[in-house]
Amino acid sequence: MVPVLIGTTLLIYLAVFALPGDPIRVLGGDKPMSPAVYQALRHHYHLDDPLIVQYGKYLWGLVRGDFGETLNGQPVGDVLTGGWTVTVQLAVTAWVFELVVGIALGVWAGLRKGGVIDTLVLSGTTLVIAIPGFVLAYSAQLLFGLKLGWFPTAGTDDGWPYSYLLPGILLGSLSLAYIARLTRTSLVENGRSDYVRTAVAKGLSRRRVLVRHTLRNSLIPVVTYLGVDLGNLMAGAIIIEGIFNLPGIGQQIWLAIQVKDGPTVVGISTFLVLIYLLANLVVDFLYGVLDPRIRHD
């Protein structure tokens, strides 16, 4: 986990700082900046050091819990603490939505394979995957937010969950489609397996077979996906937070990329990677809970 974290941050660091662009000039805007001011700013952000020294200084700060300073002079740590609650609330809303509705749809479709519901779920989810997320988001904002007035259109004034419902549903809809399909496929496959047939032959009730045997095993790939997906949701927040004006870290990083505010980009990315790796740890643990074979190893 640690090598992956270091490798990924180095990758982002190089991408941000080795590529062209002079963030100091952005600070000056359209107005002239005296050479003395320019030099003072470059020195302040360590931009006059060689790249590897810059990275070293950054890592050393990171170890001490210092994420660096944004180009506006605000600690990146503050930016993170200000934004992460919003993004986490958004991601959790999306996550719960895709988990509950996705699994429910998948089970419903899987139990009636080839039926009307199954076809509807399959074609509906494929359509959701095929429509670009931002088109879906804009249309939903216009329809449910402005025209029908069911949901707030922007901002977090109404608090959780109301402000986060529509953006959360939209953020989760893509993954929901994958989860529904994954649940369905693995349910259908497991439904034909020997142990399920044995259970049915033993005369267990359909309900018990479904819950104790089929579903439990079918959920293993779904859990893997849900773990990986938490990282995806954080990244997908870049687009959704922009459209719905949620002041989370997705929005911060998008603004920071535009003005080449390196410390912010690297700081937030590191945080995202950390979340992603932690989610994977949790998945590994859940594996054991769901799959007795792994537990007994």
Binding site: P3, V4, L5, G7, T8, L11, I12, A15, V16, L19, P20, G21, T126, L127, I129, A130, I131, P132, G133, F134, V135, Y138, L142, V188, E189, G191, R192, R197, V200, G231, N232, M234, A235, G236, I238, I239, I253, W254, I257, Q258, K260, V265, S269, L272, V273, Y276, L277
Partner: protein
């Protein structure tokens, strides 16, 4: 549930199916699927449009634009009803039908290029890593993990923002270089699963070289699922490219693409919905066709589901 019937069907499939006739079986199966035909026809249509736009419109890309004629709504929702501009005009006063036709090529080319780059990397890295195992595998897997941990959209944004005047090729290269980890993992898993098969052992015993074993024995048996994934992937890349266009870091003039059209429509689509709807329909139809085609091929190749 008709478990008995399904069970027989499965055994039947197991008896007649063999590795050698996998592809021909799959083809026969495909021919019976409606989704396969529908998506194939749509993709063929889009392909022709991308290759020969002049068959569909007399205007070149960005041709005959008059900004004084900007944002003229189509005369009727039926594009075949006639009139100068069946799809209306865009915000630069260009004929929207012509622009949508010319917008086909870029996304499809990017979709295939990115997939091809990623697929090549995946096949090479995945086979090497799966076949040789040990240290090399550990090293490559670690690199894959590192790239996997980097959210794709983040990487693409950072790199593409640094080179704002990039073209189609640069964009494809950047995306391709970020896209390979999933496919590589898939490829490695496939190679691992056939590496110790009897026929590979046999080939090794009669003294075949590593290269020969990989090319003649392992690859043909390992590559099918990766190919199917790649096909599904083309559609995903196309949707992705549109998102990058929307964020303003994708393609640009004089290239014409659906994503760019959507990006320009987003500000004014409440007043001019057709500017959003036309490219969205074309884009969605294309992505959908790739997904359905991929689905159909996967189902056909998987005897368990047959």
């Amino acid at each position: 549930m008709t478990e008995v019937a399904e069970a027989t069907a499965q055994t039947g499939a197991a008896i007649e199916g063999g590795a050698a006739s996998l592809w021909s079986d799959a083809w026969r199966d495909l021919c019976r699927r409606v989704t396969f035909w529908v998506s194939a026809v749509i993709l063929l249509f889009m392909g022709v449009m991308a290759a020969f736009p002049s068959l569909f419109t007399g205007l070149g890309a960005n041709d005959g634009c008059d900004v004084r004629q900007a944002k003229q709504r189509p005369a009727s929702w039926n594009p075949f009803a006639g009139g100068d501009h069946p799809f209306g005009t865009d915000s630069h006063g260009c004929d929207y039908w012509a622009q949508v036709v010319h917008g086909t090529r870029a996304p499809i080319v990017v979709g295939f290029l990115v997939t091809a780059i990623a697929l090549t990397l995946a096949i090479v890295l995945g086979s090497v890593s799966g076949y040789y195992g040990r240290l090399l595998d550990a090293f490559l897997s670690r690199i894959t993990d590192i790239f996997f941990g980097l959210p794709l959209i983040l990487g693409a944004l950072v790199i593409l923002t640094a080179f704002p005047s990039h073209g189609m090729m640069t964009e494809s290269l950047v995306l391709g270089l970020l896209w390979w980890p999933t496919m590589t993992r898939l490829m490695r898993g496939q190679v691992l699963s056939v590496r110790d098969a009897d026929y590979v052992q046999a080939a090794r015993m009669i003294g075949a070289s590593d290269g020969r074993i990989m090319l003649r024995h392992i690859l043909p048996n390992a590559v099918a699922p990766v190919f199917v994934y790649a096909m599904l992937n083309v559609g995903v890349v196309i949707g992705y490219e549109a998102t990058l266009d929307y964020l303003g870091v994708g393609l640009q003039y004089p290239t014409v693409s659906w994503g760019l059209q959507l990006s320009q429509a987003q500000e004014i689509f409440t007043d001019y919905p057709y500017l959003l709807i036309y490219p969205a329909v074309f884009l969605t139809a294309t992505v959908l066709s790739f997904l359905l085609l991929g689905d159909a091929v996967r189902d056909a190749l998987d005897p368990k589901l047959r």
